[in-house]
Amino acid sequence: MPSYSTSEFRSGLKLMIDGDPYTIVENEFVKPGKGQAFNRVRVKNLKTGRTVEKTWKSGDSVEAADVVDREMEYLYKEGDDYYFMATDGSFEQVAAPATSMEDAVKWLRGNEVCVVTLWNEVPLTVTPPNFVELKIVETDPGLKGDTASGGTKPAILETGAVVKVPLYMNQDEVLRIDTRTGEYISRVK
């Protein structure tokens, strides 16, 4: 496996640390007036999602993690596994375990193109598209004409996710959602 020198460190670089794959969140070069320079690095463990700070002597090398991000289409769920297919024409399929799905599950109906992060070709995390369009299956009836009061109510979507929507929204309407915040963006006509 290749390695990276600290001078190559930048956000998003994937490293192996104590047997786990990490991604660099933030890298800071520090140096006293004379003497040893260091890289103070915030790294996120891709298995646990925890972010920690670690320090390397500048000039040291760190093993690279075989982690790649691939665009893959969500196909179906079987048992605890979620099946994805590569969109690059290779038709390669992978099974992502429920643990790698986390919040992504809430937004997927089928056929969405997600980013599947693979570590040694095994799915580590699944990131849903930034925006999804989903139908309301259950909510209190809409208050006619109330487009200005700014109040919200919960709505259950076809995937089971619950989001806050404006009071005038009705069942069977389609919403645009930002999956990064879990917030309602607009009504889709």
């Binding site: 001078s7 640390i17 890298n27 800071e28 070069f29 520090v30 140096k31 006293p32 007036g33 004379k34 003497g35 040893q36 320079a37 260091f38 103070r40 920690v52 700070e53 670690k54 320090t55 390397w56 002597k57 500048s58 000039g59 040291d60 760190v62």
Partner: protein, 312 residues
């Protein structure tokens, strides 16, 4: 295509204004502005500083990492007090507070003690950074470690320093020497504790950190007559009571050259100049980009550089 400067036009004007003030300051004190070559046959042998090299028809030359050697050759030639504002280059120093190409103000005062120079640098920085509170904090390297970490840097073992770092939740990958542990604690804990509204001067570094400064015995420990000046955690300058003993200097440079990965030749012309007689003097190198950053109360170095490294 991203062609726009990283600095605002206002920052460019502030730089021009700062340089005018600095030149007036030195003119008023009879300090001569000089220029020395940026490309030279010998280079900095400090193992912690990496030089850029350039292939020339006359052989490999090094871009200076500071104008220290040739300026000292001028001192030995009888120039008297001198200053220089110039670009310098250091490989692999890149980050929020570092740009591999940066602007340095280096100056030397003949007959000055390092204490006198600290006083003058304080006045100079007060002029350059008007919002600074008066009365800088001045403390020794040892006092700083005792005050912040309750550990004596001249006595602590590698194990004690490692334990101290662990207590401070510093997670280090790899092995460190005693001095590297001190450097780690200094950059991670001590610098972070400096006040952001006034200058902090740290002096009497361990003798192993003397570089080209004189050393003296203080409370039973050899310390360097060297100081650093900070604003908050930002290091602004590094000053010396200049070592004028040629034999001592040669020993330091040769020892450094052996540790240095780049195989840079020792500057024998510099040593010859000191042998011929360098006057008792104190000198300092100040980072002008950082001083400008402080003057504008900004935080990111690119905001004061016309074009930062990435788009230069």
């Amino acid at each position: 295509m991203n062609w726009q400067p990283t600095a605002s036009i206002q920052a460019l004007k502030a730089r021009a204004c700062l340089y005018q003030q600095l030149r007036a300051f030195f003119h008023g004190r009879g300090v001569l502005e000089v220029e020395t070559p940026a490309l030279s046959q010998a280079g900095n042998t400090d193992p912690n500083i990496a030089s850029f090299s350039v292939n020339t028809p006359q052989g490999l030359r090094y871009l200076h990492t500071s104008p220290e050697y040739p300026m000292k050759r001028l001192l030995a030639a009888g120039s008297g007090d001198i200053y220089q504002i110039c670009k310098v280059w250091r490989q692999d120093e890149s980050g929020r507070r570092h740009n591999p190409e940066f602007t340095m103000l280096e100056y030397y005062r003949v007959g000055f003690s390092y204490q006198q120079l600290m006083q003058e640098v304080s006045e100079l920085l007060q002029l350059a950074i008007p919002h600074l509170k008066l009365a800088p904090r001045i403390l020794t390297y040892r006092q700083a470690f005792l005050e912040i970490l309750a550990i004596d840097p001249h006595q602590a073992s590698v194990e004690q320093l490692a334990a101290c770092a662990q207590q401070q939740n510093i997670d280090v990958q790899g092995e460190l020497s005693q001095q590297a542990w001190l450097d780690l604690l200094f950059t991670h804990c001590i610098e972070a504790s400096f006040p952001t509204d006034r200058l902090t001067f740290i002096y009497h570094y361990p003798a192993t950190q003397a570089a080209l400064a004189r050393v003296r015995l203080e409370d039973g420990y050899w310390v360097a007559e060297r100081f650093e000046v900070y604003l908050g955690p930002l290091e602004l300058g590094n000053g010396y009571q200049e070592q004028t003993n040629a034999e001592q200097l040669e020993r330091v440079l040769v020892a450094d050259a052996e540790l240095q990965a780049q195989d840079i030749p020792v500057d024998t012309r510099f040593i010859a100049a000191v042998q011929a007689g360098m006057p008792f003097s104190a000198g300092i190198a100040l980072g002008l980009d950082r001083i400008l950053l402080s003057r504008l109360q900004a935080t990111r170095l690119p905001s004061v550089l016309s074009f930062a490294w990435e788009i230069a």
